[in-house]
Symmetry: C2
Subunit: 599 residues, 2 copies
């Protein structure tokens, strides 16, 4: 099965990943010592940089991305091969493979799971090894990682240490390893890690002597099957839920799947930003409570939005329910991409949902894209995330093709070849052409944001999918038109009462104005009389559509507090897709604007 | 000079302080081991609680409050005397007096100033000792603390360690000690601490080896005289500025005073909450940037609002400028009191400016008042803050009386006795009666919030003060009427664009509704047609005035995001003074509401 994206939104990012994002991530990993760390030369007193607990994961994620793209780039393929050899060279006799604990804190192996990212790094190495094997057919990395995971299964097996990761990730990685090798041991270990989590007495509290630990932060406050609220560290949570979904799928565990659905529902119905961002709290990088999505204080880590895509794409695949596609799409076109600059080499770690000139930066929250972060999970996540975009848009099998997101693409299977022509996400007009026919089921999702649409006269509507199963002839084509008006979107989030965001299709728009502008985006007021028109903004991004709208302007008071309120004046303004903000000069930005519900 | 408050806002809090707040603080200090810590019995392996770096300050602040109130309570006076003996018993031969560093980290004395609160605790002990001496005339505590401060002056004198506190406080305390003893050494040391701060090479970076330290957090990024922006930890900043003001006053240092004014202006014009709260960021308890006052994420530590009163009352005293009185009054009637329950024994550490049912609590941010905090600076600050309220309302001297805040009170001086009759802050009608006449200058401030007022026909208006200097006869009285309509107050804070708060006189109002209410405060919309009427709310607080107002209700959407917007309906609602929120059942609360500027 081969998926080739040809759209203007995702495809250029994939090309940029190969040309810029991956090479620059390799460079940063070299410069910071992350790659040389695998030479294991650091010693106390050494002038070399000391390997950090999460460094291996950064290199592993870049390698995973390199594996996905190796077929299109001989340079990347060669470089990856060398990196694989280097990483393998760091493996210990017993199979252990972790730069930090091999050269520093050598007495701490498996002893501070709650915070030290040890199993997390193992998980990312495993994902990289599986990707490398799938891409090359070469088993050298896979076999090395199997040895490592065999060792992990020994240490943490049913009769071993009863621990589980403080930062989830290895659960889903072990399921990948099981799928790549067919060895059920890895699946059993993934299930063990998941089912142990949060049981009493708590491993972190008792074995690792952390009486003060805030267990919900680690999703370890109760067994995962009993959890109903999405809580704690956002990326940890979403990696866990993804692993739970994988185990549920592989074992047919309906109870575990039901827990996944409950946790998704809580997240999607109460705690998600309009952009698919997750994480309302900077402290602890936490999901936060229901309705706590404060625009100016959004954390909404890029990794968390990408992880939401990982989780929802799994749930979509397992259940076929369109609610997962709706949230996946929301994240894909907005917060999961907004963290990456159009140039491919600058990043937001946290994604603000409102930004003004007075805001101070703190920690991972920046008002301008950064070249790198010391904690570089987000930049390296993009390396592996972008190549998978096609897999999120389409579910493919020998006898079916589900088009969840109708981005322009060519999909070549054993039994069919299909071409999707569209300007999605900027237009809802979509033509699906069967280039090479065959007997299969074709499904096209009616997006959750879409109220009005026209479908081909053939086919059936099954829930949110237009469905047609038949022996397709070569050249048959099907036209869809998902009407894409500009919508004003309201929210139950208390801090955004009587405010509205402009959305069009799957895109969330924002207003950004340069710091030099006399007008602030925070002075714009929407009313029921506001009108909207779309126009091409190719100079921002080829293919991009902007929104010009009429609004009122309410000048902000001259003083911090004032009994004087300015008079409204008429104004027109431009909104651009949120995903593209802060790619020009430094700006102020807002997604939501006050909306006067008065006629 | 004797000031006796008789109003319904402050005076009951003072009585409650003696009856409840101080006794309960003593109890908590006992229960937690803070008082027994002065017995110095803790040892490694001991089952006793280990003295924390800031514990001494908690006990010292309660003792300071006890000293201020000892005259009205024999129990407090007796208890204080015993506490003084206990504290003195912990003093070392060299004068050193700190429970933490005497029994734990004994090798760290004066070595981690940047973070370990050592000089901060010394400052609070000094303030307590001066208060004890002033209250009792007994020098035992004062002399012990002099020995401690003499030792500090030796260690940190001109030729000694070039360090300064990581948490400011001792600067202002040393000026108090100078005033109590007349020994200029203490003033010189205060000035030294202030002028060393932020000089290069930086002491924390080089001497204490903190290359990663965020210096603005500690106001140590540049010399204080060159600082123009109020930055960093809010309480640290305001204690520093207070000490700077004290030194400027005592030495006539105009450059230092100018720095204080610049820092005040930045804070008051850009970074203060409408309630006089300071601190927009929970991380680092920081002031935050200009316009970062996000209601739902306000930190606005109670101690910071009290510290703003300490700073502005000093600046007012030195300069006589009413802008300081305006901000002082704003803090006094709102955020500096909101942290204390009406029952006197429950506290907010952080003061939220909006609170809804979905909000999670984290760290010091609570949605319900707490009995105590492990870091208990705020509860203990109230013990010493409340007795000083009269000193913030009035500036008194042998030949002058400035009424900055016309709370009902009796002020007895050597040359005059004055009675202020008012229902301030609920009414602007004020009568100042000279009970016992004499030759002095009487000044009455025209509050900054007041646009319309009537003054006595005699007297002159000098800037914002009605002024009359003469030989007053017994019984002369002067009537003032500061009109106090309900005002809608707007702000330039971006997150509050097109929103308004209801204020009346110095009081900021909020809407709070119980969690059981079908209506949420976040559904209320103000319009230019909104009408306001005041009514007595004695059942909430005797004397209290509520505001009943008409508004629109905009039901929040049923789902997190929705293209559907409800229709406005008419509603009437009640606002109460912000200072009194969350004293009944658990509620949702907001100060600002969307305001539709449409006619």
């Amino acid at each position: 099965m081969e998926i080739k994206l040809k759209d203007t939104f995702f495809a250029p990012r994939q090309a940029m990943n190969i040309a810029v994002t991956i090479p620059s991530a390799i460079k940063r990993c070299e410069e910071t010592g992350r790659i040389d760390a695998f030479k294991l030369q650091w010693k106390p007193g050494s002038t070399l940089p000391q390997p950090h607990v999460f460094w291996d994961s950064d290199v592993a994620k870049v390698m995973e991305g390199m594996a996905y793209t190796a077929a299109s780039s001989p340079e990347i393929a060669q470089r990856l091969d060398k990196l694989v050899d280097l990483v393998i060279s760091a493996q210990q006799k017993d199979g252990y493979l972790n730069t930090h604990f091999t050269v520093t804190e050598t007495d701490k192996r498996w002893r501070e799971l709650f915070y030290k990212h040890e199993l997390y790094c193992a998980g990312h190495l495993t994902e990289a090894a599986v990707a490398h094997y799938n891409a090359t057919g070469d088993k050298k990395f896979l076999n090395a990682i199997r040895r490592y995971c065999d060792y992990i299964c020994d240490v943490f097996g049913p009769d071993g240490k009863q621990g589980y990761p403080g930062h989830e990730e290895i659960e889903l990685a072990l399921v990948k390893l099981y799928r790549a090798t067919g060895d059920e041991k890895y699946l059993r270990q993934a299930k063990l890690f998941i089912d142990r989590r949060g049981t009493s007495p708590n491993y972190f509290v008792t074995e690792e002597k952390q009486p003060e630990i805030v267990l919900p932060m680690f999703q370890a406050h109760k067994p995962v099957r009993e959890q109903t609220k999405a809580v704690g560290h956002a990326v940890r949570a979403l990696y866990l839920y993804s692993g739970m979904a994988d185990v549920a799928e592989a074992t047919g565990d309906q109870e575990l799947l039901a827990a996944c659905e409950r946790l998704f529902d809580d997240l999607a119905q109460n705690k998600m930003f309009i952009t698919g961002g997750v994480g309302s709290r900077q402290i602890g990088e936490c999901i936060g409570g229901a309705g706590e999505q404060v625009s100016e204080r959004s954390y909404a880590e890029s990794c968390a939005a990408m992880a939401l895509v990982l989780f929802t794409s799994r749930m979509l695949k397992i259940t076929g329910k369109s609610k997962y596609a709706d949230v996946m799409e929301r994240a894909l076109y907005n917060c999961a991409i907004s963290g990456l600059s159009l140039s491919g080499d600058r990043f937001f770690y946290a994604n603000l949902h409102a930004c003004h000139r007075g805001m101070e930066c703190q920690g991972h929250v920046a008002t301008e894209r950064q070249k790198w972060y010391e904690c570089s999970c987000c930049p390296t996540s993009y390396c592996r995330f972008l190549p998978q975009l096609g897999n999120f848009c389409f579910r493919t099998g020998a006898d079916y093709l589900a088009i969840d997101i109708p981005a322009a693409a060519r999909i070549k299977g054993d039994n069919y070849e299909v071409e999707i022509a569209s300007n999605y996400p900027y237009s809802g007009k979509v033509t699906v052409r069967v280039v090479r026919g065959g007997n299969f089921e074709l499904k096209v999702r009616i997006p959750g944001w879409c109220d009005k649409y026209t479908l081909p006269t053939t086919g059936n509507l099954k829930e949110a999918y237009w469905t047609l199963k038949k022996d397709f002839a070569d050249g048959e084509s099907f036209d869809f038109d998902f009407k894409m008006p500009v919508e004003t979107v309201f929210t139950s989030i208390p801090s955004l009462a009587s405010q509205a965001a402009l959305c069009r299709g799957p895109l969330v728009y924002c207003v950004e104005l340069p710091l030099t502008s006399e007008i602030s985006p925070f002075e714009l007021i929407l009313t029921p009389e506001s009108t909207f028109e779309t126009f091409p903004m190719d100079e921002l991004v080829p293919g991009c559509v902007g929104i010009r709208f009429t609004a009122k302007r309410l000048r902000k008071p001259d003083t911090l507090y004032s009994t004087q309120c300015a008079r409204l004046t008429d104004i027109s303004a431009v909104a651009i897709p949120y995903a593209f903000w802060q790619n020009r000069e430094k700006t102020e930005m807002t997604i939501f604007m006050p909306f006067y519900q008065v006629r």
